[in-house]
């Protein structure tokens, strides 16, 4: 188990490894000593927690950002769906499109394949254009330091209902 933990520490960036690997190993060993005489459930929970923590921690450090920060940043959105949900939905859509295309190749019927293939290409072009325009729009809004959500929120549609709570 110690060897496995040491191996997982190798997944961390070199600077992090040099800085903390000995401390982390000591910490793991102390934890291991504590759970040595516990029942198998507690020992199992300890190993799962430690290995999972080391693994996700290594990925997080390698990416140079925290998953929590990433999620926090991408879920703080004024859209109906959070941005991370949108990203996953687009990924899922791409996956479905690819699956349909693969299935069509296997069927090999021109009667079905041609219109569907055309529709798929159209959907692909649409997604590509959406990504390009989205990136440009996002960049422009970043430059002027305002989001579309902010603009919508600040529209004074019903001024009588927008009284300050301090008044």
């Amino acid at each position: 188990m110690r060897v496995l933990f040491r191996w997982l520490l190798n997944l961390y960036p070199l600077s992090f490894f040099r800085k903390f690997s000995e401390e982390m190993t000591l910490c793991f060993n102390l934890g291991l000593q504590d759970v040595r005489h516990e029942n198998w459930k507690r020992r199992g929970a300890f190993f799962v927690r430690e290995f999972w923590g080391a693994f996700t921690g290594a990925i997080s450090e390698q990416l140079g950002c925290r998953f929590e920060d990433f999620c926090r940043r991408f879920t703080m959105s004024s859209f109906r769906f959070s941005r991370i949900s949108m990203a996953f939905m687009i990924l899922a859509l791409i996956g479905v499109l690819m699956a349909i295309e693969t299935a069509l190749r296997q069927i090999g019927s021109d009667l079905v394949q041609q219109p569907l293939s055309f529709a798929l290409r159209l959907a692909g072009i649409f997604l590509f254009l959406m990504a390009i325009f989205g990136a440009i729009g996002y960049g422009v809004l970043r430059v002027i330091n305002r989001s579309a959500g902010d603009r919508l929120v600040n529209i004074d549609t019903w001024p009588q209902q927008r009284r300050s709570p301090r008044k």
Binding site: L26, C27, W52, S60, R66
Partner: protein, 107 residues
Amino acid sequence: MEQLPLTEPVLFVLLSLAEQPRHGYSIIKDVEQISDGRVVLSTGTLYGALQRLLDSGWIEHFEEEQRSRDRRAYRLTARGRRSLQLEVERMKQLTKLASLRIARKGA
């Protein structure tokens, strides 16, 4: 760079260090104790948080007389203490507001 609101592990690490300087494993045990066993940090989570807190200048290494390379202590800096106080104030306000709202709904 740490931002408010703090995540639960980071908050507990800061609370643990607010009392006295501690070593890594001592922080894990203290966090488990003060959270009544609800929050059990893994070594990876703890050192990821410590790294970020060191980068933010909220904690620092604490030099001990009997210092060993693999057993370093950490302590809260003045900046970290101030941030922790801000977070606690924020949580107090939130709790107060929530209590008022719940009481009003219950009445």
